[in-house]
């Protein structure tokens, strides 16, 4: 691990990711529910969010794939698990239920937390509780 962590870049990356969530409409829970409501009045917008995100990331990922080190000299650190397991399926199922109940996933919840809306604050505290619960029960 390098001494210089480039904290300003990290802050700006968080800010930029937040801007993407704002512009795309992902921060609006009713829009997320409208996207998941495929059997009712369906708002397909969020499919365009994924399309834009995946197109850009795929291109840059494969342009960068052969490089061992990053522009700032960090070594790459990718998820090591390759195989499907029950935890993945169970975790994704529970996450989807929580997402569908209210319309917040972790990124948009944190952006909305910044507006200090009551629901977003409650949600984020509960989310941190859920993560802590996982940490305590998985050891």
């Amino acid at each position: 691990m390098k001494q210089n962590h480039h904290y300003l870049y990290k802050f700006l990356l968080g800010l930029m990711f937040g801007l993407g969530l704002i512009i795309s409409g992902m921060i609006y829970p009713t829009k997320v529910i409208g996207f998941l409501n495929i059997f009712g009045l369906w708002d397909p917008s969020l499919a365009f969010v994924m399309l834009g995100g995946i197109a850009v990331y795929t291109l840059l990922h494969f342009l960068h794939i052969k490089k061992v080190d990053t522009l700032l000299g960090y070594s790459k650190s990718f998820p090591l698990k390759k195989h499907l397991d029950k935890k993945l399926i169970a975790g994704a199922t529970l996450f989807g239920i929580g997402w569908g109940l209210v319309g917040y996933c972790p990124g948009p919840a944190l952006v909305s937390f910044g507006t200090l809306g009551f629901e977003a604050v409650v949600f984020v505290l509960a989310m941190l509780g859920g993560m802590t619960l996982f940490k305590l029960t998985s050891k």
């Binding site: 480039h6 870049y9 700006l12 968080g14 800010l15 990711f17 937040g18 801007l19 993407g20 969530l21 704002i22 512009i23 795309s24 409409g25 921060i27 829970p29 009713t30 998941l36 409501n37 495929i38 059997f39 009045l41 369906w42 708002d43 397909p44 917008s45 969020l46 834009g52 850009v56 990331y57 990922h61 990053t70 522009l71 960090y74 790459k76 195989h83 499907l84 169970a90 994704a92 529970l94 996450f95 989807g96 239920i97 569908g100 109940l101 917040y104 996933c105 972790p106 952006v111 909305s112 910044g114 809306g117 629901e119 409650v122 949600f123 509960a126 859920g130 993560m131 619960l133 996982f134």
Partner: protein, 143 residues
């Protein structure tokens, strides 16, 4: 199925998606890491030595975005339709626990993982989309 043309925002959503893709790709190109929000928060809770502060700084940037880009935010729409506090707590617990158990959320699996052609991320995204859709269907049926 009926399209909700009034709320449909293909251009803004595509542009937002491109910004998300760029920010995620910069996390890769600059730092060699996956842009996974649940992982960044969840790992910070373990407070690993030398690996915690940047996570807090990143999250601070994410939280500040609604303030710094306030002109672009329609604050009247950031609250969910759901007003039952206990249901919001339940949803938060499920999202927190589920994303850690399933090693990711919409960003890490849905954008980065799918782009990297990770089989785990394809499956996870399919599963959380499906359970999200079923949850919305059931909730609408109950209301």
């Amino acid at each position: 199925m009926e399209i909700d043309w009034i709320n449909f925002t293909p251009f803004a959503s595509l542009l937002g998606g491109i910004i998300l893709g760029l920010a995620s790709a910069l996390m890769l190109i600059l730092f060699g890491r996956i842009m996974g929000i649940s992982g960044i928060i969840g790992t910070a809770l373990d407070r690993p030595k030398g690996d915690t502060l940047w996570r807090a700084v990143f999250i601070a940037g994410l939280i500040s975005s609604a303030v710094i880009f306030a002109p672009f935010v329609d604050v009247s729409r950031t609250a969910p339709n759901e007003t039952n506090v206990w249901l919001i707590v339940l949803a938060g617990l499920l999202v927190g626990y589920g994303t850690r158990l399933g090693s990711g959320c919409t960003s890490g699996h849905g954008i980065c993982g799918i782009s990297r052609l990770s089989a785990r991320s394809f499956v996870a995204t399919g599963v959380f989309m499906t359970s999200g859709i079923l949850t919305v269907v059931i909730m609408q049926f109950l209301l």
